[in-house]
Symmetry: C2
Subunit: 492 residues, 2 copies
């Protein structure tokens, strides 16, 4: 126990209380980065995480970030009592996971609770991710992780109404079925409160594409209201805190791009579980250039999804789809949104592959949700789309979230043409994604690609394969260069 | 590439350049914590590690810690160019280690180089430690790690002179042989530049005990001079940057108290290698309450030490010693220093166990260093001690490092007595260490314990087993309480 003089540090530390000592004081007190200390000022006290500054602080001083300063009612010149706390018990479980033990649900819950409360340092969380990455999480652990993420995050509650949801294990450019599926199934009376992610390494996430049409950052109370009234929405998951612990774990996974399978599954399932979904459709595209490249891997995931779903009281259906080429014609937020609206408006030049996939998925959800007899879902979905009810429903959703004015198409368009006759035998998803990002997607929503040809199409020399859209000369120049060096289409 | 307005943050970040974005700007730029960004201001540019602030920053602003602000000659209101950099290649090797690969020496060197240059974040270093902890490091990897730690840290160079060193795998309270061994072997003409650690969880490290007698924070040029003149010194390793990368790794190992064996070995060997030691004596105490509890484990370590030493061009001898009770009578910096001086002064009440162990170790080093014929080292060491040459040498070393006035003995002394007659069958190292720390060691150098009885001693009811020394009433009260509740001595 020691008496130290507080210094105010003009930085917010967020939820976590952080205090700072200089090297020498920390050494004298036998304290290390990430240690927890109890700081007291009379009746005010708190537990804070310790940071150590190499220099710039006086001995016997303790730096308090703004939140801690305020909470302790600290004043310059006074002395605060500082003592060392034990580490949270969750660090013991993390070490056990690192050593290969299988954790009990209550142990996982302790870890997730502390992660959510910002009580674990990045280093400690990283050890947890390491353990899960190397030793894996079995189904019981994964279900426990999912439940705890939901338990300690915010939730949306729709009472007894049947909530359906879907998820696609990404990697296929342009795959915006969600924006068609939600209007169809909610038009049929199902509840589908859909939160999606933004692009991380892709040209557009579902939330980016929806953002071209409507506001996607909506808080939980408003979402609850919208879903109650219209039956669904399509917003950005980051706008509500549905899986706070998951976001923390993703942050420490990022530096090495680690995707521990159990964490990936828990991350997906937690988002469904937190909106109370009881039926969930999972789409696993398989192809040489998407996340899942083999049928064997897809089957393994399918098995895990179904078993974990059962543990969560969620009926899960998994479908495998073709991930060998983009879905739809547009790649990039604006061009994808235009594809979606064409399908919803039943326009003749709407991309058929996007439409068919969306109808198939919507049909399955209608069956799973009891709105269509088995085998008749597709037909019902088609009817709802054709009748204009889906479009009407989409317009309601857009209105409710906050309609946005669609940006104009990009100023610059460059046609990438074929140099020979033949048949398209391969389309490279990765090169196309890269081109779309270089062209400006997703930051510039109008940047991206418009595909004019798909697999198995016959082409003649000089025909356009795809267009590059961009609003920036530098970006366009770079995209052109790449399109000449790297072949996105193989023609034989 | 983006133009952002710089804000100056009034904090030093140390060697590493750090910049800060708010959540929204980071998201817009697809940037995450720990990403590297290239920041340019005209001809001034640097690569910085990104931190993200939850709030408190304006969009389109970039916060620069003092070092980055200065280096970039930033001014308020101007705009800096910010672009994303690739991660260092070392992160790829770290991921490979995490996945169980054996790393090549050049890959390990890349990691250590980046750790030393502060180019890896705590999260990335933590993944490296995780990989080494779970999958281990083989001898080739460990030798490579040792070499790289030395290569990228500071070194002491003594030309062609034969340098000897010793190390003890800690855990035995009071075990201060180094303070006797160094004077003896340097008096015999060997070069023994000894850096030691301070206590982390124990009542005193060698550096803490030496600090009672002399200054132990000495920089490299001065150390070089002292060793050149006197043949040796005993200082704190933290005063010279001999193994900077090791210190970083220890920092991220601390939160879970992880001791990956390969890292432990590299950490020890790097300190020897960085002073150019060609002969090294390793002492492994074995006992139920020290670091190494079984002969099997000790033999395994011995084998690794010798093999790794060979790869470093270092001849290593490993001895196993008795770790079942403290060495010497004092526990705590001052009381241990008093033990040491009694031995060096050939006082009749000098603790014999400390003296004998030191003579044994010194003898082996004299043989290894060619100053005594095999089998005659102990005798030579004894002669040097008895003649007063060791004491004289100790006084020279103390003078050279900067003599300190020894603090007075503690004000408060409490006698812990036995309640029955019998023979001492067990002494609990851990309880004794705890008592010594509670009494004030190592922060208060006079705090600690003075043992009056050792294993196999016969005692009568009412006799003193040991004394608790403290300068603080609260600490003394707590130590008393513990001494009554927890039995440090078992008498049968």
């Amino acid at each position: 126990m020691l008496k130290l003089i507080p210094d105010r540090i003009e930085i917010r530390s967020g939820k976590q209380y952080i205090v700072l000592l200089n090297n020498r004081t920390a050494h004298m007190l036998d304290l290390h980065i990430g240690d927890r200390v109890r700081v007291k000022n009379g009746k005010y006290e708190l537990t804070a995480m310790l940071q150590i500054s190499e220099e710039g602080f006086l001995d016997d001083h303790i730096g308090l970030y703004m939140e801690a300063w305020k909470e302790l009612r600290a004043k310059r010149g006074q002395r605060l009592t500082v003592s060392v706390c034990d580490k949270p018990i969750s660090t013991k479980y993390i070490k056990q996971k690192l050593e290969g033990h299988v954790l009990e649900p209550n142990e996982i819950d302790e870890i997730v609770k502390d992660i959510t409360a910002d009580d674990l340092s990045d280093i400690e969380m990283t050890y947890f991710v390491s353990g899960c990455y190397i030793h894996g999480l079995n189904n019981t652990e994964t279900a426990a992780l999912t439940k705890s993420i939901v338990k300690h995050g915010s939730k949306l509650d729709f009472g007894n109404k049947l909530v359906v949801d879907k998820h696609c294990i990404g990697g296929v450019p342009g795959n915006r079925t969600t924006l068609i599926v939600v209007p169809i199934v909610t038009a049929a009376g199902l509840l589908m409160p859909k939160t999606s992610s933004r692009a991380i390494t892709s040209p557009a996430g579902t939330a980016d594409t929806m953002e071209v049409l409507a506001n996607v950052t909506v808080d939980a109370p408003k979402l609850q209201k919208i879903a109650g009234k219209i039956g669904g929405f399509m917003t950005w998951g980051g706008g509500v805190d549905l899986a706070a612990a998951d976001d923390h774990m993703i942050r420490v996974r990022h530096p090495l791009s680690l995707d521990p399978e159990g964490m990936l599954l828990a991350s997906i399932m937690a988002k469904k579980h937190s909106v109370g979904a009881k039926r969930c459709l999972i789409d696993i595209p398989i192809g040489p250039q998407v996340k899942i490249t083999s049928l064997k891997h897809a089957k393994h995931l399918k098995d895990r999804f179904i078993k974990i779903g059962k543990m969560l009281g969620m009926k899960v259906k998994v479908v495998f789809s073709d991930g060998s080429q983009p879905i739809g014609d547009g790649i990039g937020p604006l061009l994808e949104a235009q594809d979606v609206m064409k399908v919803l408006r039943n326009e003749p030049d709407a991309p058929q592959d996007l439409k068919e996939k969306a109808l198939y998925m919507a049909g399955l959800l209608l069956e799973m949700g009891g709105k269509a007899i088995m085998g008749f879902g597709y037909r019902k979905a088609k009817k709802i789309l054709k009748s204009g009810m889906a479009l009407q429903q989409m317009e309601r959703i857009i209105e409710a979230q906050g309609k946005k004015r669609m940006p104009p198409n990009a100023r610059l368009v460059y046609q990438v043409k074929t140099g020979k006759d033949g048949k398209i035998t391969h389309i490279d998803n990765k090169i196309l994604s890269k081109l779309a990002r270089v062209a400006g997607a997703p930051l510039d929503p109008a940047g991206g690609l418009l595909l004019k040809k798909k697999l198995d199409d016959k082409v003649k020399k000089g025909e356009t394969l795809f267009e590059i859209h961009s609003n920036n000369e530098d970006r366009m120049r770079l995209a052109k260069e790449i399109s000449q060096k790297e072949r996105a289409y193989i023609i034989k």
